[in-house]
């Protein structure tokens, strides 16, 4: 047993608070925020709902089957309005040495419960998180009332079935900060699904974060599905640090929301590590979606791939910013990025900004981006088979997204395709 962690979540909170106080809100003069102008965003109007009690935990058994009827989960937990209202599998998870901490108290005690390497990894991750906060919105997240989970998997343990975390955020003019920390020790493996939903009627600001540390030889598959109501603002901060010979695969879906700004970063810190970032985004009506992915190569013989596909319709605007950064030491890096965008309506706007920053010559690195409309030939073919125009369009778009979703496995398909089909049907109506 190790003692309390020096840098624990509370420290992170306090120091993030100091950073928050010292910074200004980001402006369009900063490249990453150039296309999302927060100048008139009513930050002060959103408040944490004081009536929520963040520390009560686990009232009921929740298996996750209402969301995924056909799946078995190693552990599952559901949060409503920031409070954990149900969970299952914690004990059986514990038998393998893995821990899913769901309450603030549990997280605080983690320092005592985690074995040495795990505690060190957690501490290191918190320090990295703190060190990387580079804008006020991110500082705001970490200084806030985080609710969420810490998932810890000890060395060599392979969790056979996925872990599910479901966040249903609620409230009017509410500010919520769901967060997940994932620590995988060497050789560990798990698939984690994080689902974030808000309703149509709720007007809220969700400032979320997911941070994963994947140690040597470990494998993490992360599915993040955001299915948001049209009055929701969402800022998402996601990072995975991948060590020697480890592998990180992420599939993220950004569906709905009125303003979404998200950054997913995979840092290939150890030689031989791999990261695969896949994502879909769908903006309709007047939505503004600004999605960023970053592949950072810091060590030799690392591999990364990104595939992001978006659809923009109505008067919405989508922005995709993708960066591949290859350091001097990252020789023999193999990196690729693809972004495809479908524009459904005149006046919908799609910006695509894939960038490369390469500092060594022994690399294989490329990126590609396409923007255009639905393949007319495919459309006419389906219509000639009896589909209505709308149905044909929906079918093609579903296939377009499924191409990415399948990289997240059957659960990704199951979780995201339903939501997409619903939204497409809503358009045709």
């Amino acid at each position: 047993m190790s003692g309390p962690i020096q840098t624990n979540v509370e420290t992170l909170r306090v120091r993030a608070g100091e950073l928050f106080d010292a910074m200004e809100w980001p402006t369009p003069s900063e490249e990453e925020w150039r296309r999302t102008d927060l100048g008139r965003f009513p930050f002060d109007d959103y408040q944490v709902d004081d009536e929520r009690s963040a520390s009560t935990t686990i009232l009921e058994d929740w298996s996750g089957r209402d969301l995924f009827p056909e799946s078995e989960f190693a552990a599952a937990a559901r949060f409503e309005a920031g409070v954990c209202v149900g969970a299952s599998g914690l004990d059986s998870l514990g038998e393998s040495g893995a821990i899913l901490a769901l309450s603030n108290e549990d997280v605080r005690d983690l320092g005592d419960e985690l074995p040495g390497p795990g505690a060190n990894a957690f501490e290191k991750m918190l320090e990295t998180t703190l060190g990387r906060i580079d804008n006020r919105v991110e500082a705001w997240h970490y200084r806030g009332e985080l609710h969420g989970a810490v998932l810890y998997v000890p060395a060599g343990v392979e969790i056979a079935t996925p872990v599910l975390l479901d966040f249903s955020e609620k409230g009017q003019m509410a500010l919520t900060a769901p967060h997940v920390f994932v620590i995988l020790e060497s050789g560990a493996s798990v698939q984690l699904i994080v689902s974030l939903t808000t309703s149509e009627s709720d007007r809220l600001l969700c400032n979320s974060g997911i941070h994963a540390s994947v140690a040597e030889g470990a494998r993490l598959e992360l599915l993040v599905i955001d299915d948001l109501g049209s009055e929701t603002t969402h800022f998402a901060h996601r990072r995975a640090t991948v060590d020697r010979d480890a592998r990180f695969t992420q599939f993220e879906a950004h569906l709905g929301g009125s303003l979404v700004k998200s950054r997913s970063e995979a840092e290939l810190a150890g030689a031989g590590s791999e990261a695969y970032l896949n994502g879909v985004f769908f903006g309709d009506n007047g939505a503004h979606l600004d999605i960023r992915s970053v592949q950072t190569h810091l060590a030799p013989h690392t591999t990364s791939r990104s595939l992001y596909k978006g659809v923009v319709a109505g008067s919405a605007r989508t922005i995709y910013q993708g960066l591949i950064e290859i350091d001097e030491e990252a020789t023999q890096a193999d990196a690729y990025l693809t972004n495809n965008n479908l524009v459904l309506d005149d006046g919908a706007r799609s910006d695509s900004i894939p960038s490369l920053k390469i500092r060594t010559n022994e690399v294989k690195c490329s990126h590609g981006s396409t923007t255009g409309r639905i393949d007319q030939a495919a459309l006419f073919y389906l219509m000639s088979r009896g589909f209505t125009r709308d149905a044909a369009q929906s079918t093609i778009i579903e296939g377009y997204f499924e191409d990415v979703a399948k990289r997240g496995g059957p659960l990704a398909i199951a979780s995201v395709m339903g939501a997409i089909t619903r939204r497409l049907a809503g358009r045709a109506a």
């Binding site: 003069s29 490249e31 001097e328 020789t331 965008n341 524009v343 459904l344 309506d345 005149d346 006046g347 919908a348 706007r349 799609s350 910006d351 695509s352 900004i353 894939p354 960038s355 490369l356 920053k357 390469i358 500092r359 060594t360 010559n361 022994e362 690399v363 294989k364 690195c365 490329s366 990126h367 590609g368 981006s369 396409t370 923007t371 255009g372 409309r373």
Partner: protein
């Protein structure tokens, strides 16, 4: 009321200072209203151009430097001569010319007569003879090709209609500077239906102003005409001034085609910050061929606004960035009309610690139908000290488009190298051949003598790059 004076040569500046009718103005560094007025007076400009310069100056003071792109922290606006240089400033001895420059002249075959001028050893290169014959031909066709000062005096209506409409002086700080202190450059007008069959080169009219720091070029190609304009040369050009801020405006009227080729090989600590923009009307085509070899810092993004149906724009960009250099280049195309197409091809090489960055924009406005655009960026990094960056921007507001972008960064292929070396080449020779092959699709677009010179220049640059 301004007096009509002939084209100002360096000697005339001296006379101007001692002329009691003009205010005595000593040459000095730095920029203010008096300097701008003096420039305008010395050129004998009409009031409207002086007014233009002064407004530009006011705008220059208000604007800030770009906070992106190459590192411009050492540019000092107060440390520059904005028009006349003190006597002898531009002169130096042939013996003082650096060996590597002399070597380059040898290798790329610069004629003896030109070497001294290019190396800053002579003030003038008299190419009047060559130029004279070409000029007669052009005059017959109704083509106007002269320096902008002459154009302001002799073709004021034409100049006034277009000058500053493609690049307004408020566009950016460097354009404002150029608009206030511009000197030299070219003015070209091609009448309807005329196809100029020889490339026009400022090189023909070499004097200090052809390689001036603040060149201003305006090209108007009337309906259905064609012209190919070439700026610069592959030979390293010596200049004392550290800041080169040129502006090039091109108007291609319906059915016209304009190709503008640049090879820039500024030697020394030159900051090469250029604004180049063209408008292409119905069924017109504008092609920028942009080669950046020299200078310490270059920021240049030739642009095309496709404003008429059926217009086509193309940017071919080559950048070579060696030790201590930063080439920040690319191209921009804005689609504002239906059935327009664009292609941007960029090839860059970084070696010896050089940084090469591609920065480009493809923008399609709302309501524009049937647009196709393709951007391909290829970057070679030759060693682990160098850097290559790619920053493409696609901003699409229409659903009737097909926009593609591709970028690749790689090193010289081991297999190719091995193969060529097994044929008896040294590693340097093989690398040079591969690099020339890499650039070939773009180099092919240049007139042959440039292509040949460029290839030789690359071979020279590649020497000593291995090991």
């Amino acid at each position: 009321m301004s007096t009509q004076t002939p084209s100002i040569e360096i000697e005339d500046y001296k006379h101007g200072f001692s002329d009691p009718d003009r205010s005595v103005f000593k040459t000095r560094k730095g920029l203010d209203e008096d300097v701008v007025r003096a420039i305008s007076d010395l050129k004998g400009e009409p009031e409207w151009m002086k007014t233009f310069r002064l407004r530009a100056l006011k705008t220059f003071y208000k604007k800030s430097m770009p906070n992106w792109g190459a590192d411009l922290s050492n540019v000092n606006f107060d440390d520059i001569y904005y028009y006349a240089k003190p006597e002898g400033e531009q002169q130096r001895n042939w013996d003082d010319v650096p060996d590597d420059i002399k070597k380059t002249f040898d290798r790329i075959g610069v004629p003896e007569a030109e070497r001294k001028f290019l190396a800053g050893v002579g003030a003038q290169y008299d190419s009047e003879v060559v130029y004279h014959n070409i000029r007669a031909d052009l005059e017959q066709q109704g083509v106007i090709f002269c320096d902008p000062e002459t154009a302001v005096r002799e073709h004021p209506d034409l100049v006034r209609e277009y000058f500053g409409t493609v690049i307004p002086f408020g566009d950016n700080k460097l354009a404002a500077l150029n608009s206030a202190v511009w000197s030299g450059g070219s003015f070209v007008y091609v009448p309807k239906g005329v196809e100029v069959d020889i490339p026009l080169q400022a090189y023909f009219r070499i004097n200090l102003e052809s390689f001036g720091q603040f060149e201003r070029t305006l090209i108007i190609a009337d309906e259905g005409s064609f012209v190919h304009y070439i700026e610069g040369c592959t030979a390293p050009v010596y200049a004392t001034d550290s800041l080169h801020s040129a502006v090039v405006e091109i108007i291609a009227k319906p059915g016209a085609r304009v190709r503008y080729s640049t090879i820039q090989n500024w030697s020394g600590d030159i900051y090469n910050l250029v604004t180049k923009r063209a408008i292409a009307y119905e069924d017109a085509t504008v092609e920028w061929v942009d080669g950046n070899i020299g200078s310490k810092r270059t920021m240049k993004y030739p642009s095309i606004y496709l404003m008429g149906e059926g217009a086509h724009g193309e940017v071919l960009s080559i950048a070579f960035s060696g030790k201590g250099q930063e080439q920040d280049t690319g191209g921009k195309v804005v689609h504002l009309a239906d059935n327009t197409t664009s292609v941007i091809t960029s090839k860059s090489i970084s070696k010896g610690g050089g940084i090469a960055s591609y920065r480009g924009l493809v923008k399609v406005e709302k309501g524009v139908r049937n647009v196709k655009s393709r951007v391909v960026c290829d970057a070679l990094i030759l060693d682990d000290q160098s850097q290559s960056n790619t920053y493409p921007y696609m901003e699409i507001d229409s659903d009737d488009v097909s926009v593609e972008h591709e970028a690749r960064v790689s090193q010289i292929s081991e297999d190719q190298l091995f193969y060529l070396m097994s044929r008896g080449m040294s590693e340097e020779e093989a690398s040079a051949m591969i690099v020339n092959g890499f650039l070939d699709p773009l180099v092919k677009q240049l007139p042959m003598e440039y292509a040949v010179e460029l290839n030789r220049l690359i071979e020279l640059e590649m020497e000593g790059s291995v090991g």
